[in-house]
């Protein structure tokens, strides 16, 4: 771990140098909101963003990812990682990436994800603006963000830059860094600590207590049905979630009708089709037919089912589902605080 300082004036050159070595993905403005996107010029970067529409997981696990290409001559896998720098990732999203790292490592390693992940350098950054539905300071609060290669913090007259891995160290040659003074490092620490406790939404219980109570509430059918009453089963909450990783796999022919691709697409457990199997002759069986059971499955996955595997909840408190939900029912804070109060 090494601490550096970069002046405000040198920031632009640093970004330009990074762009010249690798693809640089960073937050940019899109209308009134923000997205992670490929950067062409330093002026596009908006480190003062609150939250991006989609989480950065799309850089490793894109919405559409080819798994196998086939033709009349044979078939081959499509793993083809591109080196890139993912720049300006908020700590909650770093936690999200750490979660998808774990699930794609588990059981059998999924190199379609892992190869992309390993080819990436992640530069986290301090949160300059808190989004209106955020609750990252009360969800899994004891879990530290890890897996990033460097951490950039805006301080009074420039940036504090902490490198954590050799990939992080490699970025130093891109900018006019000097060793950070103790004063600069302590200011960076204060800047990062100062956002804690500022999220507008708050969970009132520990992850452990929540996991137990949520798990024990499985059979409260009426409660779940009521919570899901206004659900459109649209799956937006899944699509914007940094820790959702379910997918469907489909084959598609190219126009020549002899070659094609096997592709995976993000899928959503809130949609009606998700757990349905065909039994033939027009019959089918749906193992989560009611909206309540699907809503419950999502909350269970975020707050209870994966906790043992992950060492904490599969929710990082970004609030994207809360603001993305048309019916305004997806908010985990509201759902969990309600569950905790139901006798």
């Amino acid at each position: 771990m090494k601490n550096y300082y970069l002046s405000e004036n040198d920031f632009s050159d640093f970004v330009t140098r990074m762009i010249s070595t690798k693809e640089l993905i960073a937050p940019i403005a899109k209308g009134p909101r923000f997205v992670f996107s490929k950067i062409k010029s330093p002026s596009e970067i908006r480190l003062d963003y609150d939250v991006t529409i989609l989480p950065p997981k799309k850089e490793f696990f894109p919405p559409r990812q080819n798994l196998v290409k086939f033709s009349s001559k044979g078939y081959e896998g499509c793993i083809d990682p591109k080196e890139k720098i993912l720049f300006g990732v908020h700590p909650y999203d770093v936690k999200g990436i750490d979660i998808t790292d774990t699930v794609f490592e588990n059981n059998k390693k999924d190199m379609n994800y892992l190869a992309n992940r390993r080819a990436a350098t992640i530069v986290a950054s301090n949160i300059q603006k808190v989004s209106s539905r955020a609750f990252w300071d009360t969800v899994g609060a004891d879990i530290k963000a890890k897996g990033h290669d460097a951490f950039l913090t805006k301080i009074s007259d420039g940036y504090h830059f902490q490198t954590l891995t050799t990939k992080g160290d490699a970025l130093i040659s891109c900018g006019k860094f000097t060793a950070a003074t103790e004063k600069q490092s302590s200011e960076a620490k204060k800047v990062n600590e100062s956002v804690n406790g500022t999220c507008p939404e708050k969970l009132k219980h520990s992850s452990k207590d929540i996991a137990k109570k949520v798990r024990d509430s499985f059979s409260k059918k009426e409660m779940w049905d009521k919570m899901a009453q206004r659900c459109f089963s649209c799956g937006t909450c899944n699509i914007v979630c940094p820790t959702c990783y379910c997918f469907d796999v489909q084959d598609k022919w190219n126009v020549d009708q002899t070659s094609g691709v096997r592709t995976r697409y993000w899928d959503s457990c809130l949609t009606e089709e998700f757990s349905k199997i065909s039994l033939g002759a027009g019959h089918s069986e749906n193992f989560r037919e009611s909206r309540g059971s699907r809503y419950r499955h999502r909350i269970m996955r975020k707050a209870a089912y994966l906790n043992e595997t992950l060492g904490g909840p599969a929710c990082i408190g970004c609030g994207r589902c809360s603001s993305g939900c048309t019916a305004n029912i997806a908010d985990p804070v509201e759902a969990i605080n309600t569950i905790m109060e139901v006798k």
Binding site: V103, K109, F247, D248, I277, S278, Y305
Partner: protein, 280 residues
């Protein structure tokens, strides 16, 4: 395998299937085709109750159980019912054609817990296909098991599969075999009714190990019959059917509670399945 600790370090593409050649393809019923296959590279090892992701490029992948026993390793069988687009395309294949497989996947029948015990297998409809991997296993290593009972229910006589084997099992003193159909035709001379009515013919010791595979609706009633005969839930094993899309515990479609049916199952002891609220 890693040299230091033996952990799984394989970094191959888990979605890349292997080619298998069709040695034989016969119609098992009007809509079920039985394929005998051999891997193009010659090698495959599996346990009874494990499954494969079977695919045809341009159509897709479907999860299918092994329908033959690893005690017959020279080739292996799978049976596919024409249900949708993928199964429909696969079932047009003939001997000499290829299909593409990812296998073996999942956790099969607990042979070690069945060995040395009385065993009953209850198969409904196409559930006879995955259980056939275990039936053949027990028949091939008959000395390792005690009393062996098989109960098989089909919708009607024309839906009965593996007719030659059924006839052999009926005559064999190695197996107490009972079959029934929901609806008879004019040539049917056997039993007619629900699969559960066959239990009256059996003589089951309470220590019997039971394996059930069939349509979800069947489980509940068969379990009641088994429980009535003193068979405990931890000795009853269910072969569950779910949408096992990726087969490697990632895609989420087959998840029940915190379990992935495609990794932790598809075979579960009933005692465990009872704790998974969405399993039954």
């Amino acid at each position: 395998m890693c040299d230091n600790c033996g952990c799984e370090t394989t970094e191959e593409n888990i979605f890349l299937p292997k080619e298998a050649k069709i040695i034989k393809a016969v119609q098992a019923t009007a809509d079920v085709k039985l394929f005998t296959l051999k891997m193009a590279d010659g090698y495959i090892h599996w346990d009874p109750g494990q499954f494969l992701e079977v695919s045809l490029f341009g159509y897709g992948e479907i999860p299918i159980g092994f329908a033959s026993s690893p005690t017959r390793p020279e080739s292996f069988d799978i049976a596919i019912r024409t249900v949708g687009r993928v199964s429909g395309a696969i079932n047009k294949l003939v001997a000499g054609d290829s299909m593409f497989l990812r296998a073996p996947l999942g956790t099969g029948f607990p042979i070690n817990l069945l060995r040395g015990q009385d065993v009953i297998i209850v198969a409904g409809g196409i559930g006879l296909c995955p259980t056939r991997s275990l039936i053949q296993y027990i028949m091939d290593r008959r000395d390792e098991f005690k009393k062996f009972t098989l109960i098989y229910g089909a919708k009607n006589p024309s839906q009965q599969m593996f007719k030659d084997e059924l006839a052999t099992w009926k005559k064999s003193s190695d197996i107490d075999f009972y079959d029934i159909v929901d609806k008879a035709d004019e040539n049917w001379k056997g039993e007619v009714g629900l699969i559960t009515s066959l239990f009256a013919k059996t003589n089951l010791n309470p220590e019997t190990r039971a394996v059930i595979c069939g349509p979800p609706i069947m489980f509940k009633f068969v379990v009641m019959e088994l429980n009535k005969r003193g068979i405990k839930n931890e000795n009853i094993f269910l072969d569950l059917e779910r949408r096992m899309k990726c087969g490697v515990g990632k895609c989420g479609h087959c998840q029940i509670n915190d379990q992935y049916v495609c990794v932790d199952g598809p075979v579960f002891p009933l005692s465990k399945a009872k704790q998974l609220e969405e399993a039954l």
